[in-house]
């Protein structure tokens, strides 16, 4: 059995002449036959140093937190605004195509977005309902500029 031990430490300056540092030691056991494979062994050593360097930098940058169990809210605890689903966008485009409407222009007039892709889930739902409610022959939805 072969033991590799790699260490890495780094210190970063902070305001008012302060500093912050982190160091890590990583040990890994490898099959001893790797000594007959210098390239393989060097790769493992490089990898181990990468691992040590990565973990120190992650610690210093504050990104070494474990992933959240669920990501339904953003970091500040507020709910993220969810964009329209692919099905909704496909439906909006299909209805607009049948009625000779420009979906992006409609989205802009109705909700002030640059493209329908930027509609939220609820906006897309509202737009679909409005499009479906208007008979095909008189499709003139969204001409009077709603707001987000």
């Amino acid at each position: 059995m072969l033991k590799l031990n790699a260490g890495f430490s780094r210190k970063v300056g902070e305001a008012n002449y302060g500093s912050r540092g982190a160091s890590v030691q990583v040990e890994l056991e490898l099959e001893s036959n790797l000594t007959s494979d210098p390239d393989g062994l060097m790769g493992r050593i490089r990898g181990l140093f990468d691992l040590a360097r990565w973990s120190v930098d992650a610690e210093l940058n504050g990104s070494a937190q474990p992933a959240a169990e669920s990501s339904s809210t953003s970091n500040n605890g507020h709910q993220k605004v969810r964009l329209a689903t692919v099905s909704q966008l496909r439906a909006i485009r299909a209805i607009c195509r049948r009625r000779g409407l420009d979906p992006d222009r409609l989205g802009n007039e109705r909700f002030g977005v640059g493209s329908v892709d930027e509609l939220t889930l609820t906006e897309a739902s509202t737009l679909i309902d409005e499009l479906k409610a208007v008979p095909a022959a008189s499709a003139a939805v969204g001409g009077n500029g709603g707001a987000r």
């Binding site: 990583v26 890994l28 056991e29 490898l30 099959e31 790797l34 493992r44 990898g47 691992l51 990565w54 973990s55 992650a58 474990p66 992933a67 959240a68 169990e69 669920s70 990501s71 339904s72 809210t73 709910q79 993220k80 605004v81 969810r82 689903t85 692919v86 099905s87 909704q88 496909r90 439906a91 299909a94 209805i95 049948r98 939220t120 889930l121 609820t122 739902s125 679909i128 499009l131 479906k132």
Partner: protein, 290 residues
């Protein structure tokens, strides 16, 4: 497969700190986990290896798998038309969607069951889709919003694991609840055991749709299975589940354990009379030296 324990340990050590999506990309050729891949590992780790790590072509496709996919395509067509405000599609239109999907997926390596032929399966599809159309499950409640059909969602819902990717058959919302529906074809009606077996996938999907529920102000997520039986006179069944947070958390932990086993390259056969008979890697398994 030929990797030493140390290689696996090294990969595992990297996985602790590295982006799991990247690890997944290197190991299984895709930077996410699907429930189907997790289920494959649970059924037989060696089958998982053949399919996702070695990337072997399956020796055959099961006709029932292709059939299920084609029925899904027809039902997708039905709800797409509803979402677009069109009239309910005719049975012919649904059968056209079935045929297109069948031709697309079947190829020349379909393995049929006893007494199954392409024609008999097409007849069966016609009966099942007619039963679907006649049943209330094909109609939308006037208060329900259709949010997604065959909607693909992907999110990092499990710590230290790659993103989970799910394709959800139907997502609808009412004033208080977001409902995810999974359509199933089955020889006979479902009992509690089948619901329990199907639950983990939908529990993961419940996690995936949580941001949608939040965005729509839905306080509750409901899981529904619609089972269409493959019978002379098909029957439509509905089964529902309101997931508890503890059930979702347990499912996440199980997936995490499966992922850990995958990254440690724990690949071994899990012989079973039921699974081996339908496994599309039987020859590769026989030739595998261990």
């Amino acid at each position: 497969m030929t990797a030493s324990t140390s290689d696996a340990a090294y990969r595992h050590a990297l996985q602790v700190l590295e982006d799991p999506n990247r690890v997944a990309g290197q190991l299984i050729g895709r930077d996410y986990l699907s429930h189907s891949s997790i289920r494959t590992y649970q059924r037989c780790p060696l089958q998982f290896y053949f399919q996702y790590v070695a990337g072997l072509e399956p020796e055959f496709k099961s006709a029932s798998l292709v059939f299920g996919g084609a029925i899904h395509a027809a039902i997708e067509q039905h709800f797409l038309r509803l979402l677009e405000g069109e009239r309910t599609p005719t049975l012919d239109r649904l059968m056209h969607a079935f045929d297109v999907e069948w031709q697309h997926s079947a190829g020349d390596r379909v393995r049929y069951g006893r007494s199954e032929t392409p024609a008999s399966l097409r007849d069966l599809a016609g009966r099942m889709l007619a039963a679907f159309q006649a049943h209330e499950v094909s109609r939308l409640d006037s208060s329900a919003q259709l949010i997604g059909i065959e909607e693909e969602l992907r999110a990092p819902i499990i710590a230290d694991c790659p993103d989970v990717l799910g394709r959800i058959d139907l997502i609808t919302a009412t004033s208080g609840a977001l409902r995810i529906t999974d359509f199933k074809t089955a020889r006979t009606g479902w009992h509690a055991a089948q619901v329990a077996e199907a639950a983990p996938q939908q529990l993961l999907y419940a996690d995936l749709v949580q941001p949608l529920a939040d965005s729509l102000g839905c306080r509750k997520i409901e899981i529904r299975w619609i089972v269409i039986t493959k019978a002379r006179q098909p029957v439509i069944e509905q089964h529902t589940l309101s997931p508890e947070p503890a059930q979702i958390a347990r499912t996440r932990r199980i997936v995490r354990r499966v992922w850990q086993a995958i990254t440690q390259e724990n690949f071994y056969p899990n012989p079973s009379a039921m699974n081996c008979a339908t496994c599309p890697y039987q020859q590769a398994c026989r030739e595998w030296e261990g």
